[in-house]
């Protein structure tokens, strides 16, 4: 759809896997921050002629 594949990530994390949770969140946050703010399919006020 034109959204970079790293922006959307899936992971199974059980509530007993706290370390994994921290790892996943840190990595995904880093990956998305590297991509920068998403400009695709974002709307703040209608852009109409």
């Amino acid at each position: 759809m034109g959204i970079e594949s790293d922006r959307l990530q899936f992971s199974w994390v059980s509530s007993a896997e706290a370390t994994k949770f921290v790892k996943v969140v840190t990595e995904v946050t880093k990956a998305i921050q590297a991509l920068g703010p998403n400009k695709n399919l974002v709307k703040t006020i209608p852009k109409v002629a």
Partner: protein
């Protein structure tokens, strides 16, 4: 009746001059069809197009129009104040519209410009616009303007009518706005009125003769509304309808809209969008009741509105100019000409 000669070799220069004082719109080819677009510097309108896919109504009446904005952020000075969006319409001109689309503005104006209420958005745009029409030399087979109160050389609502005469356009001045347009372009050479008018008349008759599609509307006024409303043919007419909004959106005489607020956290705007009576939710009430909740109701309503209610209310003929767009673009080929015949001849059966 002034007739001005525009040599085609002077056409581009004239448009260049006009660009200085007008925003120009004209038919532009995109992919396989034409649409009205704002012309850029040096861009010429494509006057060879038979008719545009969408009508020029969106130039005066955009599909989505922001009416006003507001901010709820109390740090802003103008918070909680509705601000009109700057919709100043500078002078604009639509070049190359067909007489059917122009007449449509007259029909729509009856709705937006009434003694009791005037739609400020529509009127502001309308008054800033000069309508420069182009007469039809080769009407399409789906055009039925001559029996819809219009015609290939019809002048209603136009400020200027351009008639293609080979290496020149003959521009028939209809209003002061049209005159001003010609002056701004530097097209001032007039032709001998009598001869020019005679030739135009001959061309006009030739074009009108080419129209092969007709509708009969003579009985629509006198027939009793309920006789049409309860007519047996609606089931068969409405069966194939898929209730999309194609006919209403391409129709130059359709005017319905829906107003809605869109909020984005602390700020927002109020906008209006085209709406279609074909959509099931068009008449959904806050209570949950929907008086037109079946397809038959909605299809019947549309044709009754166009061919009966409007006729009764305004007594100026049907709310259709015969442009043929709905006929060509309906995904299931529901044909207003056929329905009009059914309605008009229902009248004959009644008594």
């Amino acid at each position: 009746m002034k007739i001005v000669q525009i040599n085609k070799e002077n056409w581009a220069d004239g448009l260049k001059q006009l660009c200085k004082t007008y925003r120009l719109f004209g038919p532009v080819k995109e992919d396989d069809f034409h649409n009205f677009k704002e012309l850029e510097q040096g861009q010429l309108p494509d006057l060879s197009c038979l008719n545009t896919r969408l009508s020029p109504k969106s130039i005066i009446y955009p599909q989505t129009e922001v009416m006003f904005e507001y901010s709820l952020d109390e740090n802003q000075e103008d918070h909680h104040i509705l601000k009109e969006v700057n919709n100043d319409y500078p002078s604009q001109a639509i070049i190359g519209m067909r007489p059917c689309d122009a007449k449509a503005f007259a029909l729509v104006r009856l709705n937006f410009d009434t003694p009791d209420y005037k739609d400020p958005y529509w009127l502001k745009a309308y008054e800033a616009t000069t309508l420069v029409g182009q007469a039809c030399e080769s009407p399409c087979s789906s055009c039925f303007c001559t029996t819809a109160g219009c015609g290939p050389y019809h002048e209603e609502e136009l400020d200027l009518l351009l008639i293609d005469s080979g290496d020149q356009y003959r521009a028939k001045v209809i209003t002061d706005k049209g005159e001003a347009f010609l002056e701004a372009a530097g097209w001032t050479r007039t032709l001998d009125e009598k001869t020019a008018l005679k030739e135009i008349e001959a061309q006009k008759r030739a074009a009108e003769d080419k129209i092969c599609a007709t509708v009969n509307t003579d009985k629509l006024r006198e027939i009793e509304t309920n006789a049409l409303y309860n007519a047996p043919f609606w089931e068969e007419v409405s069966f194939s309808c898929i209730n999309c909004g194609t006919c209403t959106y391409v129709c130059p005489t359709c005017w319905c809209f829906d107003i809605q607020d869109e909020n984005y956290g602390n700020s927002g705007c109020r906008m209006r969008n085209w709406d279609s009576c074909m959509y099931p939710l068009f008449t959904a009430h806050g209570s949950g009741h929907n008086p037109r909740d079946t397809k038959l109701h909605r299809v019947r309503q549309r044709f009754m509105h166009k061919l009966k209610y409007y006729v009764d209310k305004y007594d100026t003929g049907i709310q259709c100019v015969g442009c043929g767009r709905c006929v060509r673009l309906c995904p299931v080929n529901i044909d207003i000409r056929r329905v009009c015949e059914l309605m008009n001849s229902q009248a004959a059966k009644k008594n």
